[in-house]
């Protein structure tokens, strides 16, 4: 807001005023974000839905993220297995490698890694696309043609991300466990059948569900941060670039923060 930057009358900067201005500006930004997010949710939950746009977004958010998600998952699973092995061998607990790998991947790492990679690939991508549309007046043009950008642009991205992220996480879980299995059977001397049986006997539906519930939330956060920063992009290549950076950073921090909050929550209800 313009009045948020008023100078002190004495000319000497007052630190309390700086803090006050900062807090006010942050509250305003959070308020705007909350209003924006609730409008996206409302548009996503009520007709009319642009089915074509939703499907296109599912392909671009979901399908094209498969390589990066798969690669990240296999390396994380492999590294996890190695670390647990070398840690566990200090007190003769090497046999816990398969169980700890599957638990770590499904409850935590699969979804966090997928969330972080998509904060980069998807959130920044949405922010750049929407930002470019804003600064070239395409969003204004949408409105003049009676197409509500919340329905036509933002809701399809929001819905597509919330639907595809759990699917990606499920795939990341499987590939991550395979990464652990590969290292354990090739580099360490685990028996393949025993490893897989230990994995499947130990993992529960709840472990997987915890990751998938987190994934739905992360999908929504990633899409909303991309749309919000894009829709507020300033003019020019620097403005759009800044929107992409901001959306990536804020989505990544939110993914990690919400992951902790939800882990605490699930822990307290015994999931």
């Amino acid at each position: 807001m313009s009045n948020a930057s008023t100078k002190t009358s004495g000319g000497f900067p007052n630190p309390l005023q700086w803090i006050g201005v900062g807090i006010l500006a942050t509250c305003q930004e959070l308020g705007r974000l909350a209003i924006f997010a609730s409008r996206v949710k409302f548009a996503a939950l009520t007709p009319r839905w642009f089915v074509g746009a939703i499907l296109r977004q599912m392909v671009s958010i979901g399908f094209y993220s498969l390589p990066v998600v798969g690669l990240s998952a296999i390396f994380i699973g492999a590294a996890l297995a190695l670390n647990i092995y070398s840690g566990g061998s200090r007190f003769g607990a090497e046999q816990f490698v398969p169980t700890i790998v599957v638990l770590g991947i499904t409850r935590e790492l699969g979804v966090v890694i997928t969330g972080l990679m998509l904060a980069g690939r998807v959130s920044a991508g949405i922010a750049a696309e929407v930002g470019a549309m804003r600064v070239t007046e395409q969003i204004d043009a949408l409105k003049t043609l009676s197409a509500n950008p919340f329905r036509y642009l933002y809701a399809p991205r929001f819905l597509a991300a919330m639907v595809t992220l759990p699917i990606l996480v499920l795939i990341a879980d499987i590939i991550g466990v395979m990464g652990g299995w590969l290292v354990s059977t090739q580099a360490l001397d685990f028996d393949s059948t025993v490893y897989l049986r230990n994995t499947l006997d130990f993992v529960t539906i709840e472990d997987v569900a915890v990751g998938l519930i987190k994934a739905v939330v992360f999908g929504g956060v990633i899409a909303i941060m991309g749309c919000y920063h894009g829709a507020n992009s300033k003019a020019g290549a620097t403005g759009v670039g800044r929107a992409a950076t901001l959306s990536m950073v804020s989505a990544a921090v939110l993914v990690l923060g919400l992951n902790y909050v939800m882990s605490t929550l699930f822990e307290s209800i015994g999931l």
Partner: protein, 254 residues
């Protein structure tokens, strides 16, 4: 006197300390072609965006067909926009869609026409702006600036709106195409009875298409009169603008 289809009354708009519009009064009647002149950065595009509700005025009111629409949202805003066509200065084509999907956007999404029928109408509309069916399946990025402008024009007129805004319709066009666009604007207004507000720096175009000419300067309409009066406006600012002189009362703000 006929009822005006659009009326701006005392519209003000500022961006921080930049007071762009300082009380604009303007109206246009059905069947009337109004041209608005004004220096670069004088707020002509901002004025159109306020009229369309893409920006909300800080003060003043906007009336469309007799109704106060200044703060309209949702359905009533859509109902108003369904009757208005807008050519953006930058064309503002959707670069994820093909040319014909751009032109037919309203038909497909708001009017829910079948794609085949929408495409036929898009091609007919493209023809009016002298673009052949061969460009229909291209992407906007594959067109020249002047061609994009004409696609924007085809999109603005396709649903035969009651009011059309043309933000610099002939900028970037060769003289022959520019004149064809002038004829097209006249046809829309005289043939279909629409009202139009055109912004232009092209005096030849202004003389040809305008019934009336208005001049925006320092956030206000400082002169308005019939197009035939433009050379005898008796206003030093208008005179300087029309004759394109660097010397005169309008001085660049440095």
């Amino acid at each position: 006197m006929t009822l005006s289809i659009l009326e701006l009354r005392g519209v003000e708009k500022s961006f921080g300390r930049n007071h762009v519009l300082r009380g604009v009064d303007l109206d246009v009647a059905p069947g009337q072609s109004l041209v608005v002149l004004g220096g670069s950065g004088s707020g002509k595009s901002v004025m159109l965006k306020n009229a369309l509700g893409l920006m909300t005025p800080d003060a003043g009111n906007i009336f469309f067909d007799g109704e106060d629409v200044t703060r309209d949202q949702g359905r009533s805003r859509d109902a108003m926009r369904a009757r208005i066509g807008m050519l953006f200065q930058s064309a503002a084509l959707f670069d994820s869609l093909t040319v014909w999907e751009n032109v037919a956007f309203r038909l497909i999404h708001a009017d829910r026409l079948k794609r085949k029928e929408a495409k036929e109408r898009a091609i007919a509309s493209l023809k009016k702006v002298r673009l052949g069916a061969s460009v229909a399946d291209l992407r906007p990025a594959e067109l020249s600036g002047g061609m994009q402008k004409r696609v924007g024009l085809a999109r603005a007129i396709i649903s035969e709106p009651d009011l059309i805004f043309f933000d610099e319709p002939t900028t970037g066009l060769d003289p022959i195409t520019a004149d064809a666009i002038n004829d097209l604007i006249i046809e829309q207004v005289k043939g279909l009875g629409a009202a139009s507000i055109s912004i232009t720096h092209d005096m030849a175009s202004a003389r040809k298409i305008a019934d009336e000419i208005a001049m925006l300067f320092e956030g206000k309409i400082i002169w308005r009169g019939p197009a035939s009066m433009i050379d005898h406006s008796g206003n030093a600012y208008v005179d300087q603008f029309v004759h394109g002189r660097a010397e005169g009362p309008i001085q660049p703000s440095i």
